[in-house]
Symmetry: C2
DNA sequence: TAAATTACTTACTAATTAGTAAGTAATTGT
DNA sequence: ACAATTACTTACTAATTAGTAAGTAATTTA
């Protein structure tokens, strides 16, 4: 075993993720990544032979991270509103960095992606919807949350507020996202 | 004056609009347009020298169309819910055609666009938000609609539900958009 | 009817794209 | 110690991209 001082493969993934959130999947090239890491474009291909391999790895990472968040939220004793805030907070970070969320970015490019990626995206979205839905369901059952629409629909409403909220706020200003976030949480209060 | 049997310039705009809604601004080329119209790529450049000119024309069209809808809704005696349905209906069409809305598509690519286009997008979005906001405001004043958040925030919530709703529904299925639409209207009922 | 304008086509360029094949230096395993 | 593997670089290719310059046929204008 060696002490790794460099982890190019992981850094590529980080830059790739940033670029997808900043400019979108179809607007960045392997040259953008290699320039930022001071390596050659072929080095990127060595770790991720095709652009779709990079995206696939990224989505796989997201899936495992959201699975972790899912079990964390299930076992947590936090108030349901705090759980939802935990889910929502990263979106505020995105607005601050002039970025949009991966799901919204990739969903916009959906029709240009190979089938193997489409399936992975579908898996990720189902996972995230389910995560929000379960949090809402539990919160309603315990009397911590209040809403009348079916849990899945309520989850869809929240997710669409967030995904398009960051997209719009990048153009109209951060205060619009802040208003959306506040309104989401206010609306769920008992 | 001549009888025009062909209107290439207008057809280019129609195809461009379709492509932006289907695959996104950065995923189509002038070759895609010229092939569909059986003309040469240089003919597209003749009418719209650069891709940004095409997008600019498209946005200008949208702005005038939404201005028309705005005055139509202001003078109309329709119930406010029916007015909002008139605004929402085109989104259902989009889902049926595997497309997303122009605003959501362009917002995702926002950071890759030249400043002159960014300004036009901003203008369009402000216009559309204002249109929904005014309809909500009037509907509340007349007692036809019920909501507690500020009118602008409520407009943002509806717009984000719609924009990201079509993005998600393309992946998870039309029934999710139908549920979102129903919920938006239900939520506003007195 | 001649000149100008319109709506293109032909033919091209320079830049960028994803991707590959062959080579190399350093590390690791046996 | 030597073979294999890892993580690259060098050097390239073929396709696609936006965009241009020059030419042309048909229509319009003066």
């Amino acid at each position: 075993m060696s002490l790794r001082t460099k982890d190019t493969k992981e850094e590529i993934l980080i830059i790739g993720k940033q670029l997808i959130q900043l400019v979108g999947y179809n607007a960045f090239s392997y040259a953008d990544i290699s320039k930022k890491l001071n390596i050659k474009n072929a080095a990127v291909h060595y770790h991720y032979p095709g652009k779709q391999d990079l995206l696939l790895s990224l989505l796989t990472n997201y899936i495992s991270q959201y699975k972790n968040l899912g079990t964390e939220l299930e076992t947590s004793s936090l108030h349901s509103l705090k759980k939802l805030e935990k889910f929502i907070d990263p979106y505020t970070q995105l607005v601050d960095n002039n970025c949009i969320c991966i799901i919204g970015s990739i969903a916009s490019d959906y029709n240009t992606l190979p089938d193997v990626v489409k399936i992975k995206i579908s898996e990720l979205i189902d996972l995230v919807i389910g995560l929000v839905e379960q949090t809402l369901r539990k919160g309603k059952k315990s009397g911590e949350l209040n809403f009348t629409t079916p849990a899945r629909t309520q989850a869809l409403l929240i997710m669409t507020n967030l995904a398009a909220g960051v997209q719009l706020a990048r153009i109209t200003g951060k205060q619009d996202f802040v208003a959306i976030k506040k309104s989401i949480l206010q609306h769920l209060k008992v």
